[in-house]
Amino acid sequence: MLQESVLIEKNEEIAPGLYFLKIRNEQMAGEAQPGKFIHINLGTIYDPLLRRPMSILNAQGETLSVLYQVVGRGTRIMTRFRPGDEIDVLGPLGNGFEIEDSGQNFLIGGGVGAAPLVFLAHRLPKKGVDNKFFLGMRERELLFIKDFLPEEVEFFSSHENSPRGEAKQVTDLLPPHLKTKKKTSLYCCGPEGMYREIAGLCNDCSDFSIQVSIDRRMGCGVGTCLGCAVKVKKPPREEPQIVRACVEGPVFRWQEVNIDGT
């Protein structure tokens, strides 16, 4: 974990409203793990005030990248970052995905939430395992993500793999793949409603584990402001407890966050 002034290598619009940002910092790149995030100071000196959390899309050697969608003031300001500029970044922060020893790995992303799963795809074991990537999107804007994936990962998208247009959401793609006896790990990143649907589809599948990344508005990003509270239930404790998305998360086990068991 560092607070560093880092050099921008690239900041390009790769699809409408979607930007690829690459920064250089060896130690940060070294500590990066799928599911962790960085906290970016917009450099606006106090308006907008807060840093912006962004998941790590990939990290190699001395560089680290994120994929961001322009949704508001802060991300619009980020589009003005130029190669050669320095920005103040905190990170890598949080608790990422735990790579499990499974026969199959399903990476399930909704929209730009798929970013950390790209990184995960690169870190999964390659031999004797089926790795599948499912991407949900409204338009075709995110299809380029396929180009970021390692070759051996099978790719499905609600756009491409739905010739008659019946698959509107990523969850529409899953059912045929769930009929399996192999131990399967699901790694999910998207809206919470998507997690609920996925869990519903997996109801009868016994040897499935589900990890999800929980999105919360963040203040500090390091665990002090308690703004990013997530209610979890961790056996053997009966009582739910409040933990921090930025430290104990953003990645959690679905059973832990789904406390009402629905």
Binding site: L2, G219, G223, T224, C225, C228, I242
Partner: protein, 308 residues
Amino acid sequence: MEPKIQSRIGSLELNNPLLTASGTYGNGREYSNYIDLHCWGGLVTKGLTLESRSGNSGIRIVETAAGILNSIGLQNPGIEYFIKEELPFLEKLKIPVIVNIAGRRIRDYEELARRLDPFSTVSALEVNVSCPNVREGGLAFGTNPGLVYEITARLREITTKPLIIKLTPNVADVGEIAIQAEKAGADAVSLINTLMGMEIDVERQKPMLGNIVGGLSGPAVKPVALRMIYQVYRQIKIPIIGMGGITKGEDAVAFLLAGARAIALGTVNFVNPKAPLEIKNYLLDYMRRHNFSSLEEMVGLAHRERED
């Protein structure tokens, strides 16, 4: 010669006037990865209650123009956990630790003070009578001068540790409350806590915060905080710990000139964990430029004009 930036709050001696603002720094542990905690004059801990509290639900932090609204709701693990798990860490730091306490009833404050009193690691108590984020919480006390007097007087009987009463800006006359705290035996007052506010999500047509209202902090509140400190300085003799929107060296100096003897940094930590270092360097440089040899010479200097 190096200017002296030591400060003193009652019997509490600080190496420098910079404190953490309660609730914005945890108990220091998290930031020890980014910064040497010894750069602080003292650490003020997250609001502590007798029992653990899980805080408010829904969205708790919303960014506003040059500030944030928060409605954390005093989430904390309770005093028992604090004594067992947090105090040992704080003890090792060898930095003055000011424990911020909050309660629903006067009895809660008394009990907290009683249980913290034996620990030498607890250098002082900051009494939060001003949290806008819990319904039965301190704010009901903090807006009532009589109750502030009573709480302070009762705690004064329980502890000899320096007592700092944390005041809310959500009142018509903050000076009146400060006067009552002083009369009842407080060693200092700290101000300001957050300003009550709200934000509405116009697309969803609903309040943004789960708790509907929250407390505003950050640069947006600085002029309000500064005015209150300036005003209260003229009304009481005990030291003032100033806070509210400090983000840079100039702000810190302005608070000292308005009459604060120490200053606390809150929201800025979220944006720039290195702020205390930068502010300390600015302060030293400022003092050299203006030939101040000690902090004492600066405190309240902005009042000079009117006295002339």
